[in-house]
Point group: C2
Chain length 164, copies 2
């Protein structure tokens, strides 16, 4: 059970978009070349972000993507769920209802009113995972990058994306 590669790519692309001046569009091509990942496939991840309304796109030349809202209003969870889906990582198939000792009509014993104890624990864990992601905005990564990377490389990186 492992998250897709696209999750990692989407997160890196979002931090790039967050680091650049507000409103600057960046093309899929540029993002793909920068990270050395297949352009057409990365495009799928960006489309997912677009559909989740985390980024917005413009067509035509000079087109591309930019964040749809402030970088501190976009969390890791937003990005992960956009790419990976919002479903929990555990799905209860209610196999407890297959207990041959339970009468056929005893659906009430296994109804939503008495959720499966095992599923409850798994859901709680899933929520803990999502909570951490929800508490971390994309902007926080920009800060650490700005602090950790030598200013020279940081400036060159930002310039790399700017036209002319």
């Amino acid at each position: 059970m492992q998250l897709k590669n696209q999750v990692e790519w989407a997160l890196h692309c979002c931090t790039i978009l967050a680091a650049l001046p507000d409103g600057q569009y960046v093309s899929t091509k540029a993002l793909a070349e920068f990270h050395r990942v297949p352009k057409e496939y990365l495009s799928k991840a960006l489309q997912a972000l677009s559909q989740a309304e985390l980024v917005e796109s413009t067509l035509g030349p000079t087109g591309g993507y930019r964040l749809a809202r402030a970088a501190d209003k976009i969390t890791f969870l937003d990005v992960v769920e956009a790419v990976e889906g919002k479903g929990p990582n555990f799905v209860c198939t209610e196999i407890r209802a297959n207990n041959p000792c339970l009468p056929a009509g005893a659906k009430s014993l296994v109804s939503k009113a008495r959720p499966c104890g095992i599923a409850s624990v798994m859901y709680r864990a899933d929520r803990a995972w999502r909570d951490v992601l929800a508490q971390t905005p994309i902007s926080s990564i920009v800060s650490t990058l700005e602090r950790d990377l030598p200013p020279k490389f940081w400036r060159e990186t930002l310039d790399w994306f700017s036209p002319d």
Copy 2:
């Protein structure tokens, strides 16, 4: 990104083993019929538990599985990791090192000493998930089952597994 079905099955099987009298062996066949799950496939999950030394098996007739240690010493995390593997749900491929602005020899900038900020957050979330699972022993589910299920059905269920 979703956990395997086998995880759910393994957890349910473990709670059954935990609920039965200490040391009682239960065959794969019985567990499979009880949960209405393919026997040969369930057997794979049980083998994984066996390999992780959470359960122990005996061959021959009256053979089967039983818990290898007390039910309050076996956590959800033990079972999940036995079936699903111990690896984190996010793997960092270090695509930040592909930044074309970084000189070829600047490996030190992206070394373990400065872990990728994005990966750090993902690992933190993964740890939060595992922490919840590690804090919940299998025995806790037995308690809630005993409390929620009418005693009649509970007794019949335990009897279902006992030879005689």
